[in-house]
């Protein structure tokens, strides 16, 4: 078995969310985008006293930072020993099929998209994990607005950015 079916993944992810929310677990939501500006603060040695945002995210940023180290470890171990999918690659097969064969194009677009993605996530106050999964599980209106806007922007971009019609 090289992969779990979507419904097993959904049940496990719901269990993990509940464990994270529970007072016996972490008593907080599961988020995965606050760590990025937190790490930017660590890497570029920014002074939290000067930049209020860093002071503001000190605790959630650190929590997610440690969680992220776990995710890197868990992803690595699973890819090597369970799904046996670990390999180095510069360009996804789907990009070659629906966009182009240029490694430079993929790397440039990745860089730009990564940059824009974090600005977007921090402006909205969350990402797929913090807003979509954790927020919608709490039935938060803010997360439903975010989820709707993201889905629309995602599908429109997918339609026009890739050569979907050709194949």
């Amino acid at each position: 078995m090289s992969r779990l079916p979507w419904w097993v993944g959904g049940i496990l992810m719901a269990g993990l969310l509940l464990m994270t929310f529970s007072v016996f677990g972490a008593d907080r939501p599961l988020g995965a985008s606050t760590y990025v500006p937190y790490f930017a603060g660590l890497v570029f040695d920014l002074d939290p006293k000067k930049y209020t945002y860093l002071e503001h995210i000190k605790n959630p940023g650190a929590w997610e930072g440690v969680m992220l180290l776990g995710a890197l470890f868990g992803g690595f171990v699973t890819s090597v020993f369970i799904t046996k999918s670990f390999r180095f690659s510069l360009i996804p097969t789907g990009w070659k099929k629906y966009k182009n064969n240029s490694v430079l194009s993929r790397l440039l677009w990745s860089f730009v998209a990564g940059f824009v993605m974090i600005i977007g996530a921090r402006m909205a106050g969350g990402c797929t994990s913090g807003h979509f999964m954790s927020g919608m599980s709490q039935m938060a209106i803010s997360s439903m607005i975010f989820g709707t806007v993201v889905m629309i922007a995602l599908v429109i971009t997918g339609r026009f950015f890739y050569n979907v019609k050709d194949k």
Partner: protein, 222 residues
């Protein structure tokens, strides 16, 4: 031999040590538990392969629906479970505020970037862990995004995001019927997850590494 961890210094290693120290003292689970939550999170994402470009950008192209099916199922099940945990005092809600311009501008930028990158901030690290160099480059882009956001937060981004219009939830619109609203929401979202037509876009480079009897694309033909 004593292990000395320097947490008062100003170099990169001390700043990393301060991160662990913050987690130990903030009371949201022990350091080991937080790391373990990450391991399970990364493990589920890797094992279901929802971190693949073909799954996320594939959903943007409407050629793969595994990501929305799994997300909606997670939300449907967790919303019911979480509500009763909160009722019983075993969990708390942590609602994010409604900031209209922040949500709409941020969500639009996020959706566009997600379609092009084929990752999000939670699935990206898992892809890096399985050897995707292009995602590592994207993460460096993200780090600069985080830097720019931090540097210009007070002057530019905070005013742009607007004021909070409150931390509303769906059940708060139906006072007296909260239980019913939660059950309907959870069941409807779960049904949405089930009825979204299942479409899969596989990565040939991954399939080639598997023996024929394990290939999911061949299995469905039989």
């Amino acid at each position: 031999m004593d292990i000395i961890v320097k947490t008062a210094g100003d170099d990169f290693a001390s700043r990393m040590a301060q991160m662990f120290e913050t987690v130990i003292h903030e009371g949201h689970g022990s350091l080991v538990l937080v790391f373990l939550i990450g391991v399970i999170f990364g493990g589920i994402i890797q094992y279901t392969r929802v971190d693949k470009f073909e799954k996320i950008a594939g959903f943007a192209m409407l050629k793969d629906t595994i990501v929305p099916k799994m997300l909606f199922l997670t939300v449907g099940l967790a919303s019911i479970g979480l509500y009763f945990m909160v009722e019983a005092g075993y969990a708390h809600y942590h609602i994010k505020p409604i900031m209209w311009s922040g949500l709409i501008i941020g969500g639009t930028l996020f959706g566009i970037a997600m379609a092009i990158f084929g990752k999000c901030p939670g699935t990206g690290p898992v892809s890096i862990a399985e050897g995707r160099i292009d995602v590592l480059v994207g993460a460096i882009g993200g780090l600069f995004g985080g830097l720019v956001f931090t540097l210009y937060y007070s002057d530019f981004f905070k005013p742009l995001m607007g004021d909070s219009a409150g931390k509303l939830t769906l059940p708060s619109f139906f006072p007296g019927h909260e239980h019913l609203v939660v059950l309907i929401f959870g069941i409807v979202v779960t049904i949405i997850a089930i009825v979204i037509p299942k479409r899969e876009f596989y990565d040939e480079a991954d399939l080639e590494k598997l023996p024929p009897e394990e290939r999911p694309d061949l299995k469905e033909v039989h």
